[in-house]
Symmetry: C2
Subunit: 374 residues, 2 copies
Amino acid sequence: MYKLLKTDGLAKRGEFTTVHGTIQSPVFMNVGTVAAIKGAVSTEDLKTLGCQVQLSNTYHLHVRPGDDVIRQLGGLHEFMVWDRPILTDSGGFQVFSLAKLRRIKEEGVHFSSHIDGKKIFMGPEESMQIQSNLASTIAMAFDECPPHPATRDYMQDSVDRTTRWLERCKDELDRLNGLEDTINQKQMLFGINQGGTYKDIRIEHAKTISKMDLDGYAIGGLAVGESHSDMYDTLDAVVPHLPQNKPTYLMGVGTPSNLLEAVDRGVDFFDCVYPSRNGRHGHLYTHTGKLNLLNAKFQLDSRPIEEGCTCPTCTHYSRAYIRHLLKAKEMLGLRLAVMHNLHFYNKLMEEIRVAIDAGRYKDFKGEMLESMKD
Amino acid sequence: MYKLLKTDGLAKRGEFTTVHGTIQSPVFMNVGTVAAIKGAVSTEDLKTLGCQVQLSNTYHLHVRPGDDVIRQLGGLHEFMVWDRPILTDSGGFQVFSLAKLRRIKEEGVHFSSHIDGKKIFMGPEESMQIQSNLASTIAMAFDECPPHPATRDYMQDSVDRTTRWLERCKDELDRLNGLEDTINQKQMLFGINQGGTYKDIRIEHAKTISKMDLDGYAIGGLAVGESHSDMYDTLDAVVPHLPQNKPTYLMGVGTPSNLLEAVDRGVDFFDCVYPSRNGRHGHLYTHTGKLNLLNAKFQLDSRPIEEGCTCPTCTHYSRAYIRHLLKAKEMLGLRLAVMHNLHFYNKLMEEIRVAIDAGRYKDFKGEMLESMKD
């Protein structure tokens, strides 16, 4: 159940109630691909880092350890020991980006596992069954993530198929939620808007899926190679055609400035691997720009990554120490860096919420973009 | 300052006071080679794991980031944020096991860095200067760790040189501790007994170095390929010739049963990479034996690694989850496994202390060896 608490321009401040607790939006969902955050960050740590929602990958968990295993262990919440909301993606993105020997048919996709080459079939029903086994809070619809660039004809066919798949997802999840032995019988479904940068296809698709009264709406297929201004133009065009009184989720995006710009266009759910990936490469976020800790100038720097930061890394360890660990390829360095970056992203969303609450989002956005130069 | 609180047979229960706090012995020192415990375990974590003493490697830190860097940052305690005792090894073991193109002379050892091949010279004075820069609580004397097996002649020459080096170490550390800008002017020095499995050489050497009134005495050059019974025989022979009213430190040893046997022979300081290394390979210690978590039988096992264990891993996560993380090569799996094993080792030492206090060490040892089958 989504409650729109306040708007500031197009920026939305929402409260989304689920069986696993309430999410304050705008929100950044922390990515735990295989039921763990890369960088040795545990679900215990996630609470310290201010994470509200954890995201796991359906395809990865289906391949290993298997959604049947996780189901027998009581579902993802029990498995990874996390009592707050979990969103699972549909597996679609990974099928189209990782899997090999892919054949797309009306019924779904035949492909080979990226781990052992085993033949797998996944369609809307299979994706829902897997996500029902995982028992996440929010299931994502199984869609085709079209290549970029794609011809107009390919895109239109793909989006039409995605719409038909969405209807099948909805029917199948309704059926699964009605079964007695389903772990989470209140699993929610988010649909995914596609259409690349063809604005008219996007808008038409948004209108179609908006009629289906889903629990939330995602915008997929962006940040796949198009420019930032194309991404923002697409958001400008499509977001007004998605329900304002539902979560609006921009998938796989992005940098802090992407988040700031997207919030300003009405998006309020995000996920991205940048904070953990950049952390692992020694790129640390601060409110005054990104630091490359591998730079020699930090060798004797006894300051925390960011002065005043309350994350577990900054409250104890220095730039010099973390730099040393990263140079020596010590796992602890990766952990400390990733923890700081995840805290930064979660904190940024909190600051965004405060700014919207105060009715000064445009000013806040301007100040942040100016200060971060990112 | 070492206070012998109690003996139970040869087993010693001691209290060792340093400028960085008091150590209760028998004690296991947790190995943080490059100023970090492998497995993404921080000094904050070490406190939770019951670690009393952290051990770092002089050679590694000299090569990277450089002891001069650590000195400028206030010493190892400041650098890695650890306010309890730190023992640094002398670099000798690494020079003889890792470094390339080694030439041993009376003044010291010429060798090439294992990282960039850079030529380095290290002798007793250099080792003390580096350790003084690191400002550890306890410095280890620079010794030759002779190859195993070594001829009797080689061993005798090597041990004689190690004695001469020890005298130079003592003089140099006395000088450094007297300098005004030395960070830890109360740095302690432990000597190292050598002699391989030649008991008469060991005993003669032990008698010689015991006269030097050092802060503690280590037994080096064991667990280098000899059998366990040879190790125990050597301890039986040499420990009675080392001062009982000083720490007795068996370097680089070993399995839980090695520790139990060595304590029974009068040893009360230990360090070893086994708990972290075994953890990283999925081998988890329990009081009823070691588990190989990669084994398929743990796939659906929702129990903690050890029932009743109070470590941060066992209080939250299941065998099935940790197994999945290890199989997926997720860093979090390594971290959770290493944390459990370090907690097990620190806890085992606590149990050993309790048993000595109660005057039932022999019984305790028997029960543990029977139960652990290790």
